[in-house]
């Protein structure tokens, strides 16, 4: 290790692998590449990358399966998935499986690099006592969430987002604030990753018909209210 952060690039297309490897090296990353899902899983074990860039559609093992398997074995390596604009369903599945962010192909290398740097800065897990908002209990120490006594399974990034909203209950947080605090993005980001994750959180928190807790404040952002 020479101190350069290690990025694992997984894509079945050689042209994209080569271009990404070169471009990310020039951006100051150490880069390893894998041509498929199985190779990626092996390489994560061996190389312990700081962050992964993962293509969704691959012939041998899809990016979604790679995310699921990693998360199932407790591996929390941050993952940014690559998807085409019209692969919405695949993108949604990847994020729900536990990926942290997505970029749409073709993308701006500068923006991808900025996101990867942010994802590499592992935010320190907030410790402390469980936060209670109405019937919602968020426990940062054990990383568990209960709504009205019912446990709610969340991916890492969903948990971080909910925790941020819970700690700031009744305070409206803008998308930019959430991007910065939850994803570490202190730059303009194209896309709707906050909106997408708010959607997932709402669905999981309201799965048993409970009333809405995460409200949209139009033109401003989102707020958690009891």
């Amino acid at each position: 290790m020479n101190g350069e952060p290690l990025v694992l690039v997984v894509d079945d297309d050689e042209a994209i692998r080569t271009a990404l490897e070169r471009a990310l090296r020039l951006e100051g990353f150490a880069v390893r590449v894998a041509a498929g899902g199985h190779a990626a899983l092996e390489m994560v074990e061996r190389e312990r990358p700081g962050v992964m860039v993962l293509d969704v559609v691959m012939p041998d093992l899809s990016g979604i399966s790679v995310v699921s398997r990693l998360r199932a074995r407790g591996d929390e390596t941050p993952i940014c998935i690559l998807s085409a604009r019209d692969e919405v369903e695949d993108r949604v599945a990847g994020l729900e499986a536990g990926a942290d962010d997505y970029v749409v192909k073709p993308f701006d290398i500068g923006e991808l690099a900025a996101r990867l740097r942010a994802l590499l800065r592992r935010l320190p897990s907030a410790d402390g006592d469980p936060t209670r908002v109405g019937d919602l209990v968020v426990d940062p120490a054990r990383r568990t969430v209960h709504r009205a006594g019912r446990p709610v399974e969340l991916t890492r990034r969903e948990f971080d987002l909910l925790e941020e909203l819970a700690r700031n209950r009744n305070v409206v947080l803008s998308r930019d604030q959430l991007l910065e605090k939850v994803w570490g993005y202190d730059f303009a980001v194209d896309g709707n990753v906050v909106d997408v994750f708010v959607g997932y959180l709402r669905r999981k928190l309201e799965a048993e018909g409970e009333p809405r807790m995460i409200h949209t404040v139009r033109g401003v952002g989102f707020v958690l209210r009891p």
């Binding site: 019209d86 919405v88 194209d190 896309g191």
Partner: protein, 466 residues
């Protein structure tokens, strides 16, 4: 003939066969009834004659109290006479004791049953009536059983019957044969309308001219109904063929347009790339400008591709995913994203409080809003006003800009694919508004363009509210 072979017969043969079968049935039934009636009457008249003879002198002569008969072989008793073609005999104990008339030499049974009978003897047929006489006391014990039998030659009668039968059969056969010929002859003109219909249909199919119609009201009801049905089918085929032709034409034009739209940026990209490659020593500023151009052209191409894929998805959307969608929420998210994309533009959103629900495909509705806002930012000035208004049964979404607006003559076709306004300063993909129109239509809504209060364009989308 099996059923399959029957099914292959021509209509003419079938009609002839049906007529023949009907005529044959009538002739045969009539003939059988006629012969039976005649035969019945003739035979009963002969039977009555035999009965009368039995009541007459010959019968009486051998009855108790009548004239005593002579011995066997002796002359017949008086009155035991028979006219020619008839006989009478007395049988006792299985032997003929007396006989008169044209008795057949042999063949008559010697122990006949009582009553009427028809027997064949000496090659001829005889009708007989046998009556039991009171037994004559015998010297040797048991009384002897005696029968008197009257007979009449049945041949002339049976011949009359047979002859009638033959005549009836001949007439029937001739009638049936004639029916076959006549029915075949008459079936042809009867089937003429059908033949005309067949030729007309064949004409449509050889010329492939779907505008042709079959003649109606010239033939029988059934044929007319058939012609009417075929004509309706032709009309439907003509309509759908015209639609298909239009769709094909649109696809051809679209494919040509796509080629043009993609080739143009690819050409200038190639020119720009070659300029950089062939001039390694060009000034850094110039090099930078060319590379920026290449990046922009690439982005434009991506936009065209994105739009084309979205259009294709909408075109093939047979079953749109439908779920409740809060339009206010989607608008908020879309406007936020647009603000981030265009920090220089002022994009305002005004929507009623609370959920504004429609039923539809969230991705598609987002696409609709994104493209309307993008269009307003691109062709408008600095200000864009997005408004959502609740109507009775609909949600009205308006997007106003402060640009030059859309001239009235262009308003119709501005939603066509690759249609661009003439006064547009920075042309986009030419597909954004086509996508808006497509999504509006997929959501059972409508879209139109008019003037905004500020003199720019106002795009209005109406969607049925849930």
């Amino acid at each position: 003939m099996n059923l399959a072979a029957l099914a292959r017969l021509s209509m003419r043969t079938r009609i002839a066969a049906a007529a023949t079968a009907a005529v044959a049935l009538v002739l045969i039934a009539g003939g059988v009834a006629t012969v039976a009636t005649f035969a019945n009457r003739e035979r009963s008249s002969l039977d009555r004659e035999l009965e009368q003879r039995a009541q007459g002198p010959a019968g009486r002569a051998v009855r108790p109290g009548g004239v005593e008969d002579g011995g066997p072989g002796g002359p017949g008793p008086p009155g035991l006479l028979a006219e020619s073609g008839s006989f009478v005999r007395v049988i006792a104990g299985g032997e003929v004791v007396q006989a008169a008339g044209d008795l057949p030499a042999e063949g008559l049974p010697l122990r006949p049953a009582e009553g009427f009978d028809t027997v064949t003897a000496e090659g001829g047929r005889w009708r007989t009536l046998t009556i039991e006489l009171p037994p004559r006391p015998s010297l040797f014990g048991d009384p002897v059983e005696r029968l008197i039998q009257f007979g009449a030659d049945a041949d002339p009668l049976e011949e009359r019957i047979d002859s009638l039968e033959r005549r009836v059969a001949l007439i029937s056969a001739l009638g049936i044969g004639l029916t076959v010929v006549l029915a075949s002859l008459f079936a042809t003109p009867a089937l003429a309308p059908l033949s005309r219909l067949r030729r007309a249909v064949a004409g449509v199919s050889t010329t492939r001219d779907l505008s042709r119609r079959l003649p109606e009201g010239e033939a029988g009801r059934e044929v007319d109904e058939l012609a009417h049905g075929v004509n309706e089918m032709l009309a439907r085929l003509e309509r759908s063929s015209a639609e298909r032709e239009r769709a094909l034409e649109a696809t051809r034009r679209f494919a040509a347009d796509v080629g043009h739209e993609v080739r143009t940026p690819l050409t200038s990209m190639r020119a720009n790339l070659d300029a950089v490659r062939r001039n390694p020593t060009m000034p850094a500023g110039q090099r930078r400008a060319i590379l920026d151009d290449i990046a922009r052209e690439q982005e434009d191409l991506v936009s065209v591709l994105d739009a084309l894929q979205a259009l294709a998805r909408g075109d093939s959307a047979t079953a749109l995913p439908r779920e409740p969608v809060d339009m206010a929420e989607v608008l908020d998210s879309a406007v936020e994203a647009a603000r981030r994309r265009h920090p220089a533009a002022r994009i305002e959103l005004s929507a009623p409080e609370g959920e504004q629900r429609v039923t539809g495909w969230p991705e598609g509705l987002r696409l609709l809003i994104d493209n309307l806002v993008e269009n307003a930012v691109r062709h408008g000035g600095e200000q864009v006003l997005v408004r959502l208004v609740r109507e009775d049964h609909a949600l009205l979404l308006t997007v106003d800009d402060d640009g030059p607006g859309v001239p009235a003559p262009e308003r119709e076709r501005i939603f066509d694919r690759f249609a661009r306004g003439t006064a547009v300063k920075s042309p986009g993909t030419g597909l954004g508004l086509a996508l808006v129109a497509q999504q509006a239509q997929l959501h059972s809504g409508s879209v139109e363009v008019g003037d905004s209060d500020g003199g720019g364009a106002r795009f209005s989308v109406r969607l049925p509210a849930t």
